[in-house]
């Protein structure tokens, strides 16, 4: 999905003149950087690693978990990479790669998050090359995803948020899927695009420790991998993104890039339990907000966000209502956004699945 560009964009690219325009950097032409072109085949395990010749990239894991009492939990673990100049300098303090990490955990007691930065080249953050190093490792300080062998999964995910220590094991229950056309994901009619694949079949299990308290958790995860050098059109102001685990075994990814004027750019992937995919175009998706609510975004600050949605897949003739587990899942990071656990309800109002929603670009 295109969504994470905004975070990296403002943080790492936005010049002073367009400080208000958070997407300025993304709309840059990305001259000198490697460009995303159609027809290129994704190669694994190589493409699990970093692509420093592209401007931006991320490893984005979200997971819907539950504890022994059946209560909903969620987690987000994200590593962003940004190249500051086209010619990659990978090692040493002169490295032009900068890393940013966001983690968050949605608990029955509230939502907690943390942000970190690190520079590349010194070993404080990075992603290994599986072919060279023999294992997958994406890390920043003590936050890390480390595989047990020469593949992405199975792996162990460990991170901390304040006093909370999260330790989970991850394993694949299916294959990863390419989004767009063989991983070439178009973002606008003008040709902006990214390479984009997901791993929606991840089973997680482990613990969250907070002081003497230790809670067992288990659930489903969704990994998004995306890289590009230029991804947004001039008139795109933000996006709404959903990754859903449906109870019938389907996985669904849907996003819309909101345009200043004219129609929004809608895209999605309808993934069967067997891993079969169906690219969803603009006409195949009907996504509309049901309710705008004021969300507290800090002390005496709030924003109005569309917290409830109606989603309709035309060809599949399926419709759902999507609502947050609770509203307070705001990421008050340098570039703030809403990202959190959502509950999917079917036409009869029954719970039909869980997932993650991301809302960006709302003032």
């Amino acid at each position: 999905m295109t969504r994470r560009y905004i975070l990296v964009a403002l943080l790492l690219l936005a010049p002073a003149a367009v400080a208000q325009d958070v997407l300025g950097g993304l709309r840059d032409q990305g001259l000198g950087f490697a460009q995303v072109t159609p027809g290129k085949k994704l190669q694994f395990p190589r493409d699990h690693g970093a692509h420093p010749d592209y401007r931006i990239e991320w490893w984005y894991l979200t997971a819907n978990l539950s504890d022994d009492d059946g209560r909903d939990w969620g987690l987000q673990w994200t590593l962003f990479r940004q190249a500051l100049s086209p010619e990659p300098v990978d090692s040493g303090w002169n490295s032009n790669q900068i890393w940013m990490a966001h983690v968050a955990i949605t608990t029955p007691d509230g939502h907690f998050h943390e942000q970190r930065f690190a520079r590349g080249g010194i070993g404080q953050a990075g992603v290994t090359e599986i072919e060279r190093d023999g294992f997958f490792n994406a890390w920043m300080d003590d936050w890390e995803w480390r595989s047990n062998g020469a593949s992405l999964l199975p792996a162990r995910l460990r991170f901390t948020i304040g006093e909370r220590e999260i330790d989970l094991s991850l394993e694949a229950t299916g294959e990863l899927v390419a989004n767009g056309i063989d991983g070439y994901s178009q973002k606008s009619a003008q040709g902006q695009a990214s390479y984009y694949y997901s791993h929606p079949f991840i089973r997680l299990g482990g613990t969250v420790k907070s002081g003497p308290e230790k809670i067992d958790l288990a659930g489903k995860g969704w990994l998004d991998r995306e890289w590009s050098s230029q991804a947004l059109a001039q008139n795109q102001q933000g996006w709404d993104w959903f990754s859903l685990h449906l109870d019938d075994g389907h996985k669904l990814m849907v996003y819309q890039l909101r345009h200043d004027g004219g129609e929004h750019w809608l895209s999605g992937n309808w993934i069967g339990a067997d891993g079969s995919t169906r690219l969803l175009g603009r006409d195949a998706i009907d996504l509309s907000p049901l309710q705008l609510r004021a969300i507290s975004t800090g002390e005496n600050r709030s924003r109005r966000l569309p917290m409830e949605w109606r989603l309709l897949l035309v060809e599949q003739d399926r419709r759902w209502r999507i609502r947050p587990l609770y509203d307070d899942q705001w990421m008050d990071t340098t570039i703030p956004y809403w990202e959190g656990v959502v509950i999917v309800e079917g036409e009869n109002g029954q719970r039909a699945g869980v997932g993650y929603m991301e809302l960006t670009g709302y003032q």
Binding site: L10, L11, L12, L13, A14, P15, A16, A19, L84, S85, G92, W93, N94, N96, I98, Q115, R116, F117, A118, R119, I122, G123, Q124, W139, D141, D142, E144, T160, T334
Partner: protein, 834 residues
């Protein structure tokens, strides 16, 4: 407030607009005094606030340090290991000293802003300039963040690159600073590493950790690294306390000199308001009302004085801070931010001290005036008699003060006590002055032949001028004495310091850094042609009696060790003591700081904590250690190497063969061949220039305060003379009418003035000597633990005499101008009365 009261107040205050010059002088005295005092207070409090922040570094908390016991720095991999073990509060730092092509020493601090704890990177409010501010900082060609004051000092413009010795230069400058950056240039670690050519950090800082984390962190560190608590905020307060007390004392002196002007102006206003007050009382005004009016007047003046004085103080503090900040950084490694923080407390203090001063100088004399009976107040014949009584009273008080000062002298134990004794002494001298001035007049009158009428008149007119000039003379005496005393202290110190530097820094080249191995240097055939002698020194940082302490291992046979200047020694000579230290085991040399501040005596046995536990050493000598705020022990090299495995290199001193004209070039070539980089070595001339530069900067603030005090005294003199002119204009008009020429009239005023000034100047010489004697032999030793011989020279005294003459000439010139302007009117008035 009833109307009557308003009238009283108006009548009293009308004096000030009837005599604008006196009002101006009173204001100047008050503002200058308050200004100088508050400037120093602002600086002191700002410095103290900075010391309190020593728990933080560049805006991040630094509760602990991770340092190499061997001073080798810390490798990157260890830092990454700690971060990956979850110690996110650990961040790397590099500190460097570099020299510009102009020979100015610049301190550099470098860190990784992305790794600073506490969300420093891209913090809110900075996003607007994110690319310009942050991204360029961490990427080649990097940016150097230079605080505004430092940039001004280095004449560095935004975007320009500071050129350094050895053909290097700093990254393009951005005029910007982080918290606790002080007078340092902030660089990214990457930039600092390219600059230094080393891939190691100087040390790591550690933010707050829980007890459990502390234990885990300590366990993770290899044996050669140590985790120490950041005690800088305590150390700095202790180490710099004396310096700040010195400044406070200077500022109080300035305040006192300022108050003399006020006192003088008040005396004048009393003279003029006698009639007003008498009229008011005869009209039936209650004493109570008059008293309240006086209090209101005082309050008004205190508000004016505080507001304007404090404003002047802020300006002065801004001007003085960069120099002082540089000294604090060079001497104590104390970081003082260049942006002044003002506290309302300082303002309140300034107001209280102003009010207190005014109550003493304004309200009290006015109140006394009220107390006098109406009849007595009306008579002016008793004035001269009053003056004589006042002189005698002052002299008696002076003797009492001198007695207290004398008694107190033997009991001086702290810096504050020392300054109290000094203050008593100075005021005793000031109060004694009027009677000496009177004696001088008597003597002059006796010396002038009875037949010479005009000269006799000139001398005896001094009696009329005395009341007006008294306070100004006292202020002048204080300023002259302070100038001479402090000047002598600085000259003596400079003399001792430069002489000491010549012996201590006798080597031609000083080599630092880890790149050259001493063994290889000694063995290298390339050094034979130029190397006459060398001295490899090692050291251990420790704490002794809870104060930062250095144990140095030096080669006892190196040229500079053989000549090590001792201030005290055991046995018959310094050379004999050095021999004993060199040849007998278990002997130690200590610095003067240990002797004077910690009270360690010759022959005493002290204990040092070595790797193998506490070891005893006997003190056989005390060496001078100017400029060092820390305790320092000197032991032979082998003793330190044997007892402290974690010793580190303190550099190599190299002496050149003086018969070889190209020794310096050859030395530089072979050092480069041995792996040293430009910047690793520094020549003797450069070291001396740096040391003397630090010295001069340290005393720059003293010189500035001295100069300002002198200016205040000059203003006092001018104010008094103008007052005389004002008071006696009718008299002068009468004389003029009797045929006295203007030149003669000017002489009439100038002669007593000159007599008085000569007396004040003469008195300031022994007094200045006494002041410097106490400063050098008492206060300097108590404050810093540095002893030095007093070097007395007459030249400064002569220079001051010249200065006094110039001040007199300038004031007389102004007075004669005023005279010329006012005389016609005065003559006209005289004509009317006749």
């Amino acid at each position: 407030m009833n109307r009557g009261f308003v009238w009283i107040l108006k009548a009293l205050l009308s004096h000030y607009w009837r005599h604008p010059w006196q009002t101006l002088f009173m204001a100047i005295g008050l503002i200058a005094g308050v200004g100088l005092w508050s400037a120093v207070q602002i600086i002191n409090q700002h410095a103290e606030a900075s010391y309190r922040q020593a728990q933080s570094l560049l805006g991040a908390q630094a509760s602990y340090w991770i340092q190499s016991r061997r001073d080798e720095g810390i490798e990157q991999s260890l830092y990454i290991d700690l971060r990956r073990a979850g110690f996110r509060q650990v961040f790397p730092l590099i500190e460097l000293e570099v020299g510009t092509v102009e020979g100015i020493s610049v301190s550099i601090i470098a860190t990784d802003l992305l790794a600073l704890p506490g969300d420093a990177f891209g913090a809110e409010g900075d996003t607007g300039d994110f690319a310009e501010t942050w991204l360029k900082f961490v990427q080649p060609p990097y940016r150097a963040w230079v605080p505004e004051a430092l940039a001004r000092e280095l004449r560095l413009e935004a975007g320009a690159q500071l050129r350094l010795r050895g053909g290097r230069s700093l990254p393009p400058a951005l005029i910007q600073a982080r918290e606790q950056q002080g007078r340092r240039v902030l660089l990214d670690i990457g930039a600092a590493m390219s600059l230094s050519g080393s891939d190691r950090f100087s040390y790591l800082a550690v933010g707050p950790v829980t007890q459990r984390e502390h234990a885990r962190l300590a366990a993770l560190l290899p044996e050669y690294l140590e985790l120490t608590e950041n005690q800088q905020h305590i150390d700095l307060r202790e180490l710099t306390e004396s310096l700040h007390s010195h400044l406070t004392a200077m500022s109080l002196l300035s305040f006192a000199v300022g108050l003399f002007i006020v006192f003088n102006a008040v005396r004048f206003s009393l003279w003029y308001r006698r009639a007003t007050i008498l009229d008011l009382r005869l009209m039936g005004c209650a004493t109570q009302q008059l008293f309240t009016a006086i209090l209101l007047e005082t309050l008004l003046w205190s508000l004016i004085g505080t507001a304007l004085g404090f404003g002047l103080g802020i300006l002065l503090a801004h001007a003085l801070l960069p120099g002082l900040g540089a000294s604090l950084q060079s001497l104590y490694a104390a970081t003082v931010d260049s942006d002044l923080g003002l506290s309302p407390l300082t303002l309140l203090q300034a107001w209280s001290i102003t009010l207190l001063g005014l109550v003493w100088a304004l309200s009290w004399p006015l109140y006394r005036q009220l107390q006098q009976s109406s009849l007595e107040a009306g008579r002016s014949a008793g004035l001269l008699r009053d003056e004589a009584v006042a002189r005698r009273r002052l002299a008696l008080a002076a003797l009492a003060l001198a007695l207290i000062a004398g008694l107190g002298y033997g009991r001086i134990e702290t810096v504050t006590q020392g300054f109290v004794v000094l203050g008593l002494m100075l005021f005793a001298a000031a109060w004694l002055l009027p009677i000496l001035l009177a004696a001088g007049l008597l003597l002059a009158g006796w010396l002038v032949p009875r037949s010479r009428l005009l000269p006799r008149w000139m001398v005896s007119d001094g009696w009329s001028q005395m009341p007006a000039l008294r306070s100004a003379m006292m202020a002048l005496l204080l300023a002259l004495t302070a100038n001479l005393g402090v000047g002598t202290l600085v000259d003596s110190f400079r003399n001792a310091f430069v002489g000491w530097l010549e012996v201590r820094q006798s080597a031609d080249i000083y080599l630092r850094g880890p790149r050259v191995d001493y063994g290889r240097l000694r063995a290298s055939p390339s050094t034979r042609s130029w190397l006459a002698a060398s001295h490899y020194r090692i050291g251990v940082n420790t704490r002794w009696r809870d104060r930062p302490t250095l144990v140095r291992g030096i080669d006892p046979r190196a040229p500079d060790s053989l000549e090590l200047p001792l201030s005290l020694w055991q046995g018959e000579s310094a050379a004999a003591a050095r021999r004993v230290w060199r040849e007998q085991p278990g002997k130690v040399l200590i610095n003067e700081q240990l002797h004077f501040l910690a009270g360690v005596e010759l022959g005493e046995t002290i204990e040092l904590n070595t790797d193998g536990g506490a070891r005893k050493f006997e003190v056989v000598g005390v060496f001078y250690d100017y400029g060092n705020p820390y305790f320092q022990f000197y032991l032979p090299y082998e003793v330190v190497a044997r007892n402290w495995s974690h010793h580190y290199s303190r550099g190599i001193a190299l002496w050149l063969k003086h018969d070889n004209n190209e020794a310096m070039q050859q030395a530089e070539a072979s050092l480069t061949a041995l792996g040293a980089r430009p910047g690793d070595w520094i020549s003797q001339a450069q070291v001396r220039r740096l040391s003397v530069g630090i010295f001069d900067r340290t005393f720059a603030i003293t010189a500035a305060m001295n100069g300002l005090t002198m200016i205040v005294a000059a203003i006092a003199l001018l104010a008094s003379l103008l007052a005389i002119l004002q008071e006696r204009l009718p008299q002068f008009a009468q004389w003029r009418a009797l045929g006295l020429r203007q030149g003669e009239q000017l002489l009439l005023v100038a002669t007593p003035l000159l007599i008085f000034c000569v007396i004040a100047w003469l008195m300031s010489i022994p007094l200045g000597a006494l002041l410097s004697w106490i400063l050098i032999h008492k206060l300097n030793i108590i404050s810093f633990g540095w002893s030095m011989p007093l070097v007395w020279e007459f030249e400064p005294a002569l220079r001051l005499a010249l200065l006094v003459l110039l001040i007199c000439a300038a004031t007389l010139l102004l007075v004669s101008y005023q005279w010329r302007r006012k005389m016609p009117q005065a003559l006209a008035q005289l004509g009317e009365t006749i």
